[in-house]
């Protein structure tokens, strides 16, 4: 549209001019200036806040990258186990070294003045070497040497562990790591402690008081030990010290070591004594005359009522030992699933089952029975209680339903016991199902 036409339109609208235009514009100009000043101030405040927040974020991010400990607080790392070693040195140039069980932790602190240093090691499987961090030393304080080590998961006591001699070489994979693999099936231990020995001519059985531990020696070892005073304990030096790593270690066949156990809560129990199976063993009641009857087995329903737990487990090891002065078999089991009780699935337990092998003379001595046998050789007796079955190496790998009873109070640590001595406590899984049908 042309300008002339616009002017005509403008004139046609006939809009009067405003009256208070100039007054308002002057006042409005002042208001605008004040408003802009306020806007500028608020803008400065706003951007200052943004900058401060950005600096804070960068600082936190930088601190997390520089200091791992600071980051762990936010990341929530799940450290399974930590061995804390605290050492304080009074004088200069002092070196402290501590070894903690299987995970050797060496702490060295060399200071020139009073120093308190704290080292922290993580024994979790995720770390192959302990992390050592030293804190700055406070000045003007005297300190005494003090070493404390704490370890949450320890292997089975080893000081009185008997040595096992087997004809066939046995390799035991031991892993004393405290790795927790609760829900994964650990590698089955290939340890078969007991091997069949046809004749005991090459071995000798030492007689010892019942309160002491027993072990079976090689002929060579028997000669050397003949002059040594009882009780015979396995020197700690002979026990292999696992290396400071998370890999499994292999011990020598002649030395007993606890089986592999990945469950940090429960390990297989170390039996007090280990006997060997003897194919020429004599039935106990053929040598020792006892009165009374064997008794009848309680019905299945009563057994399950008295049971602490009922589990289906696979036999890992078969160990002949003694308990309550009677031959017992220690079954090291891998629980497949739990039917009742609080035993967790895939946990490893040690179960005492009535029946096993032991020397007749030792049995007589433990039970206060006069014993005289015709043969000159030590006679091995066998006893199976009421079950008429003794587990042996052929049962390794088999699965059974085990009905476990409550602890009578005299069981060793980490050991369960069947609810009865009869064969009703160890059942074939198929028979177990049929018994309730």
């Amino acid at each position: 549209m042309k300008k002339t036409e616009k002017d005509k339109l403008k004139e046609a609208f006939n809009i009067p001019e405003p009256v208070h235009k100039e007054q308002f514009i002057s006042k409005y100009g002042d208001m605008l200036k004040k408003n802009e000043h306020k806007l500028r101030f608020s803008t400065v405040i706003r951007y200052s806040a943004y900058a401060t927040f950005a600096v804070l974020i960068i600082g936190v991010w930088g601190a997390m990258n520089v200091n791992p400990d600071f980051a762990d607080k936010f990341k929530g790392n799940d450290i399974i186990e930590s061995a804390v070693t605290t050492s304080a040195v009074i004088s200069a140039n002092t070196v402290n070294t501590t070894s903690v069980g299987t995970n050797a932790v060496s702490t060295e602190s060399t200071v020139s003045a009073e120093t308190n240093s704290e080292t922290k090691t993580n024994a979790a499987t995720t770390k192959t070497s302990p992390a050592v961090s030293s804190l700055p030393a406070p000045t003007g304080k005297s300190s005494t040497s003090k070493t404390e080590t704490t370890r949450k998961y320890t292997p089975a006591p080893t000081e009185k562990a008997p040595a096992i001699h087997t004809e066939s070489s046995v390799k035991t994979d031991t892993s004393n790591t405290s790795a927790r693999t609760t829900k994964t099936l650990p590698a089955l231990s290939t340890t078969k402690i007991i091997s069949t020995v046809t004749k005991p001519q090459t071995t000798s059985y030492r007689t010892a008081p019942a309160s002491t531990t027993r072990h079976i020696d090689t002929p060579q070892a028997a000669e050397t030990e003949a002059n040594s005073p009882p009780p015979m304990t396995v020197p700690q030096t002979t026990r292999p010290q696992p290396t400071q790593n998370n890999n499994t270690t292999t011990t020598t066949p002649a030395e007993y070591a606890p089986p592999v156990c990945a469950d940090p809560v429960r390990n297989f129990a170390v039996p007090p004594v280990i006997y060997q199976k003897d194919e020429n063993a004599v039935y106990i009641y053929d040598i020792f005359k006892f009165g009374g009857s064997a008794g009848s087995s309680p019905p299945m329903d009563n057994i399950t009522i008295d049971a602490q737990s009922i589990v289906c487990a696979e036999i890992i090891n078969v160990i002949y030992t003694q308990f309550n002065n009677k031959p017992y078999t220690q079954l090291n089991l891998l629980v497949k699933y739990s039917l009742s009780g609080n035993i967790q699935d895939y946990s490893k337990i040690s179960l005492y089952v009535r029946g096993g092998y032991m020397p007749a003379s030792e049995y007589a001595e433990l039970n206060g029975i006069d014993y005289e046998h015709e043969t000159n050789n030590e006679t091995i007796i066998y006893d199976y209680g009421e079950s008429e079955k003794i587990f042996d190496i052929s049962d390794v790998g088999s699965e059974y339903i085990f009905i476990i009873g409550y602890d009578s109070g005299n069981l060793p640590e980490n050991v369960y016991q069947t609810v009865t001595d009869s064969d009703k406590s160890v059942i074939n899984p198929d028979d177990f199902k049929n018994s309730f049908s």
Binding site: M1, E5, K6, K8, L9, K10, E11, A12, F13, N14, I15, P16, P18, V19, H20, K21, F24, I25, Y28, G29, M31, L32, N35, L39
Partner: protein, 152 residues
């Protein structure tokens, strides 16, 4: 606001006047528009600024009509009918403008008197630019036909 305050004041005033047909009311609404503009965030874009101003002015005029419903003709309208003070041609054009719907009159005012961009007018009236251009052409054609001329 990067626009000229003096010029914008006149334009907003004209817009308010054509809506309310009263000078004093139009000035009050114009001043109120600018005061309310101060409370809103400032835009760097001129179009957004104009859109904001005209939106505020239009809402104020609508609120005024709701609160002041009157059947009386405004004084200015009566003065427009004074044949002695009006030029025949401009009178005819003004009559032609009066024959248009109020919204068409506003559009013509905004487009050709206040020189508001087509996009801003389209935003104010919530129509597309194409629809606005068609409407403007239609309005001009009606004006010409009313005046019996090819041009205004």
């Amino acid at each position: 606001m990067s626009l000229d305050l003096n010029e914008q004041y006149s334009k907003i005033y004209r817009y308010c006047y054509i809506r309310v047909n009263n000078r004093d009311t139009a000035e009050d609404l114009t001043q109120e528009t600018f005061l309310r503009y101060l409370e809103h965030p400032k835009y760097h874009s001129i179009d957004k600024t104009l859109n904001l101003l005209y939106t505020i002015a239009g809402n104020l005029c609508t609120d005024y009509f709701r609160s002041h419903k009157s059947d009386e003709l405004p004084e200015d309208m009566q003065s427009n009918e004074n044949i002695e003070n009006a030029v025949l041609e401009s009178y005819a054009l003004s009559q032609a403008l009066k024959s248009l719907p109020s919204e068409d009159r506003e559009i013509i005012l905004l487009r050709y008197i206040n020189d508001v961009p087509v996009g801003v007018i389209a935003d104010i009236y919530h129509i597309s630019r194409f629809a606005l251009n068609r409407r403007i052409r239609k309005i001009l054609a009606e004006l010409r036909s009313f005046m019996g001329k090819e041009e205004l």
